[in-house]
């Protein structure tokens, strides 16, 4: 799925999740930032991450 389609899907999912978790009134207050959040989520979801790249939970300080 391309980034714009994915972003639209995330907007729908975030709206529904916000209503379910925080109620309609609170979800309405989150509405202005849901589009932003969905955009960032789509960026992360579509960026080509190396298949062998593990997560960095910390910035690997301990040695």
């Amino acid at each position: 799925m391309d980034r714009d389609s994915l972003r639209a899907q995330f907007v729908t999912e975030l709206r529904a999740a916000a209503e379910r978790r925080f109620g309609a009134a609170r979800a309405a207050l989150l509405e202005p930032i849901i589009a932003d959040a969905a955009g960032w989520m789509a960026e992360v979801a579509t960026y080509p991450v190396d298949a062998e790249e593990p997560p960095a939970f910390y910035a690997e300080p301990a040695s």
């Binding site: 925080f22 991450v49 790249e53 939970f57 300080p61």
Partner: protein
């Protein structure tokens, strides 16, 4: 020179030489706070009796030739997310109203062990996010000092204290330091313990230092850096003598990141380019370099990681006190609660990929150079744009801002220098060399 103008190294030397007593120095700074803080609003809590008692003890010890460490008798302030035993620590939030910790954050404890005297707690945005502190910028009271370490930057700039602890998860230490004409430093992730610092992100929180010159930062880092067995993210990497490191300054190899100049205002790009020209004329090797492709997705990864971490950190308090949170931090937490786990982990993988792709660039140069901020401190209460700090907070790399000039309207600007993991000695030496060329930051006229 008035006592409140003394920087850290000069104050420490004057105390050791018995030219200045800690009591006189603390009293001078308390008077300065009394005179100015109604306008600047840097301090959340000033511990007058505690600071005076510590100063009397330090003065007595000095009279007997006893010096606890290199900061004996030198006052400092701590952002109000640093635990300080017996003092209110409220993180700029009603959620934490009345909270008094029973131990010092490791960074606070290490400064005290080196002889420094805690003057009090400095205003922060709520839980170091974006709901603003009341603090104003000493260069122009209509402007923000930046945030989240708002009080830390304003207090050091206003000569109320020579050293402040701040923190940086996205852009909260280097950016306000630059907005206020200071040297602001964020070490490698894990270099300074975050134990006893109210967390925002388990994987991006850094203790920051703010002072008025690079030498002062080097001394403060020498005292605060090092492993802490009570902080699982604390590094065991050896701690060099940073004061010694800055004596070995030489013309550095610098990579200029033109992409970030292009995102800055024309005036910022121009002032920074003039500073770069001065560095090159003084002997620095200056080349242009490009950031790796992953740079494009850094803000997105940082967005997901910080919100996910913050949601986890605040989950219990949010469950019982949601209505006490201000709007921005509340939304921050709630969005974090909605981010799917697979995307959170993907963001962590992007972070690692970014670090890996950056390594060849970092290995070729002593430092990468950018404008510290896209513009000067904005008017109003918003804390400004952190986009030039986000990559280094996400990747955990050390960064520092050094003043490089003023805008036409008289607001300070800085250059930001970045280097590889645990290369603070090189970074500070490079910053000190640049400071020699560009000159130290000047005080605001308050």
């Amino acid at each position: 020179m008035s006592l409140h103008e003394l920087d850290i190294v000069d104050a420490a030397r004057a105390i050791r030489d018995k030219v200045v007593s800690p009591v006189d120095l603390v009293d001078a700074l308390l008077e300065r706070i009394e005179a100015l803080d109604a306008r600047v609003q840097a301090w959340a809590y000033v511990d007058r009796p505690g600071a005076r008692a510590a100063a009397r003890q330090a003065t007595d010890e000095a009279a007997h030739g006893v010096f606890r460490g290199p900061l004996h008798g030198v006052p400092f302030g701590a952002k109000d997310i640093f635990y300080s035993a017996g003092l209110p620590t409220e993180g700029g939030s009603k959620v934490m109203a009345g909270f008094v910790p029973d131990y010092d954050a490791t960074a606070v404890a290490r400064l005290k062990a080196a002889g420094a005297i805690l003057l009090g707690k400095l205003h922060t945005t709520e839980f170091a996010t974006t709901d603003p502190a009341p603090t104003r910028n000493p260069w122009n009271l209509a402007c923000t000092p930046g945030g989240s370490s708002s009080g830390s930057a304003a207090a050091v700039a206003a000569r109320m204290v020579p050293l402040a602890l701040g923190s940086q998860t996205i852009g909260s230490n280097v950016r306000p330091a630059s907005y206020c004409g200071l040297v602001g430093f964020k070490p490698t992730f894990g270099r300074i313990s975050t134990r006893g610092v109210m967390p925002l992100s388990y994987t991006q929180d850094h203790v920051g230092l703010m002072a008025r010159n690079v030498e002062d930062v080097a001394l403060a880092l020498t005292v605060t850096a090092g492993h802490d067995r009570d902080d699982p993210s604390s590094s065991r990497a050896p701690v060099p003598d940073y004061m010694d490191a800055i004596t070995r300054r030489r013309a550095p190899r610098i990579a200029v990141l033109r992409e970030l100049f292009e995102r800055a205002t024309a005036e910022v790009a121009d002032v920074t380019a003039q500073a770069v020209s001065r560095l090159a004329r003084a002997g620095a090797t200056v080349e242009e370099a490009k950031l790796p492709p992953t740079f494009r997705v850094v803000p997105a990864a940082a967005y997901l990681i910080t919100r996910g971490d913050t949601a986890s950190i605040h989950a219990d308090r949010y469950a019982s006190k949601a209505d006490l949170y201000r709007p921005a931090i509340r939304s921050f937490i709630e969005m974090g609660m909605l981010i799917p786990g697979d995307l959170y982990v993907r963001a962590l993988r992007i972070r690692r990929q970014f670090r890996r792709e950056l390594a060849p660039l970092l290995n070729r140069y002593d430092a990468l150079l950018t404008p510290t901020t896209p513009g000067p401190a904005p008017e109003g209460m918003g804390t400004g744009d952190p986009q030039f700090q986000t990559p280094w907070s996400l990747s955990g790399l050390p960064s520092i801002t050094v003043p490089c000039g003023l805008t036409g309207s008289g607001l300070p600007l800085g250059i930001q220098l970045v280097s590889g993991s645990f290369t603070e000695a090189t970074l500070l030496a490079t910053a000190a060399w640049c400071e020699d060329i560009l000159g130290r930051g000047q005080p605001p006229s308050l």
